[in-house]
């Protein structure tokens, strides 16, 4: 069995390792490694379209993860204060936000937003009879909102789990000692759930940074890094893509390791 497990881990990591290795290949071909070079990184990072897509992805991932961390944490705290029935409804909706395939989330958001814009834009136009009226369209906002849906549900789940294992005695002791609810929250609850909030933020960022399929539907005229990479891959495999893939892989691996470390920390730093 040990041999089988080793083989599975090799299966999981060898293809990625090959991509990383060949991103440093001096030659163009995948079948032979002709020497070490970072030229493909230079080529990739001097491509203005690619840099633009990378910037978009970073902006979208940061914004959606921040919003998700805030709303998801608030939701987890709120859910600890409601009855079992309300909780069940929320849990079902949050679960759906996580489990429904990205294709369906992308499509339904696209359909709903296009319908919504069809109503709102003529209305806005009627309010600005002379000037250029503001026009709602697909773009940053719609990607952030669609990514944030999954991410918020994820944060709510992770923080909710941590809240469930919170030491009640500390909270009670705090209020017995006449601390106001706000003080109790700041000095007892927040330090204990903070690792979960940070882990949730990091995973939300990773999800948004890596997501292709949801953004593919709701991006409108915008390009994210995965959309750009997908388009280039379909034109053919090139060493530049190996370099981008390596960058993306390194970013996600770092963030996930950081998130896991946060979640497994026993003692909260206050």
């Amino acid at each position: 069995m040990r041999a089988f497990v080793v083989a599975v881990f090799a299966f999981l990591y060898l293809p990625i390792a090959l991509v990383v290795l060949f991103s440093f290949n001096a030659g163009r071909h995948a079948s032979e490694f002709t020497g070490f070079s970072v030229q493909w990184y230079g080529k990739a990072l001097s491509n203005p379209f690619l840099v633009e897509a990378l910037k978009n992805s970073l902006f979208i991932a940061t914004t959606s993860a921040l919003l998700a961390a805030l709303c998801g944490t608030a939701a987890a705290l709120g859910l600890a204060r409601v009855g079992a029935r309300t909780r069940a409804v929320f849990d079902a909706l949050l679960g759906a936000a996580i489990v429904v395939p990205g294709v369906v989330i992308g499509i339904s958001t696209l359909v709903a937003l296009v319908q919504l814009f069809g109503v709102v834009n003529p209305f806005l136009a009627s309010l600005w009879p002379n000037d250029q009226p503001p026009r709602l369209a697909l773009g940053y906002g719609s990607i952030i909102a669609a990514h944030g849906l999954f991410s918020m549900a994820l944060v709510a789940m992770i923080v909710g789990t941590r809240l469930g294992s919170l030491d009640r005695n500390l909270v009670e002791a705090s209020s017995d000692l006449y601390a106001t609810p706000l003080t109790t929250f700041r000095s007892i609850v927040l330090p204990q759930i903070m690792p979960a909030v940070i882990a949730g933020f990091l995973l939300a960022f990773t999800f948004s940074f890596d997501d292709f399929i949801v953004a593919f539907f709701v991006a409108g005229a915008q390009t994210t890094l995965p959309i750009y990479v997908f388009a280039s891959i379909r034109r053919g495999v090139t060493p530049e893509i190996n370099a981008i893939a390596t960058i993306v892989l390194v970013v996600s691996v770092l963030l996930v390791v950081l998130a896991q470390w946060q979640l497994r920390r026993r003692k909260p730093s206050s």
Partner: protein, 287 residues
């Protein structure tokens, strides 16, 4: 007293407000929108025309190939994942040395959170003309075709979703009460019958969770069949991308999406039934 109660409810509402708004505007309403579209008609220029008709659903057989491929390759992929995942989860939960366990578990979780696009691309690279086929050609096997085949899609599926299958099985095996295994052995059961009667049985909730999650995500899969199937192996996901972004037949696409969601719900309910019947249901965390 009364103002305290009021304050309590007000704060709860404030905490839940943003999440509720988000869930309603970007999950519930969009779902209602595609449900409405799915009983509508296609306008001549490609948009949507209000109607109440089941014509879109009656038209589903037009995409029979995509349904057929998905309905064959999604369960087959999930099953292949399961066969590879179970021994790994078993080893991690019951056989791995304590100090290695967390590291190995992290090594399973990391691919799950790294870009599926990049990981699928890695196989495109390995299976493509200049990867394994080029290596095979140097030892005399010319013209081996690996990419753009159903086999490549299946491989990509196992690769992409293996971590998602390992995790829930690991969780259910790890929580297993080891005294049961000893008791079974003490009562004279062979290792095989202990495994079948105790270990496998008690890990079934994890197996069902993993299987249904992978199945559902595969029903909507687009990247793997597109990149590794090379336009020859169409999934429902491909049909949806085509209908929404290329041929712009939104009502028909909505009907397909609704069907997909209904199938997912059936899969979830069936999996839940099976696992609660065989043992208590358990929550499984994704990290």
């Amino acid at each position: 007293m009364r103002s305290n109660v009021l304050r309590h409810h007000l704060l709860t509402a404030l905490l839940l407000g943003p999440a509720t708004a988000w869930l309603v505007v970007f999950l519930v309403l969009p779902f209602v929108a595609i449900a409405v579209f799915s009983v509508g008609e296609r306008a001549p220029e490609g948009g949507y025309q209000a109607a109440f008709t089941l014509a879109q659903y009656a038209n589903l057989p037009a995409r029979a190939t995509a349904f057929w491929n998905t309905m064959v390759l999604a369960p087959a992929g999930a099953l292949a994942c399961l066969l590879v995942a179970y021994p790994v989860a078993y080893f991690l939960a019951l056989r791995a040395p304590e100090r290695w366990r967390l590291i190995l578990l992290a090594l399973v979780v990391i691919p799950f959170w790294t870009s599926l696009l990049m990981r699928t691309y890695a196989w495109m690279y390995v299976l493509g003309g200049r990867g394994i086929p080029a290596l095979l050609a140097t030892i005399g096997f010319d013209d081996v075709r690996l990419i753009n085949t159903p086999g490549a899609v299946l491989l990509g599926i196992v690769y992409g979703y293996l971590p998602l299958m390992i995790l829930p099985i690991y969780v259910s095996l790890e929580r297993l009460d080891r005294r049961l295994l000893e008791a079974s052995a003490d009562l004279g059961a062979t290792p095989l019958s202990t495994f079948l009667g105790v270990t496998l049985r008690l890990s079934l909730p994890g197996v069902m969770t993993g299987f249904s999650l992978v199945m559902i995500l595969l029903l909507g899969e687009y990247l793997i069949p597109t990149l590794l199937g090379g336009g020859k192996v169409f999934f429902i996901g491909n049909a949806l991308v085509d209908l929404f972004l290329q041929s712009r037949n939104w009502p028909f696409g909505s009907a397909i999406a609704i069907t997909l969601v209904l199938v997912s719900v059936v899969v979830l309910i069936a999996a839940n039934r099976i696992s609660t019947r065989l043992s208590g249901a358990r929550r499984v965390d994704l990290i």
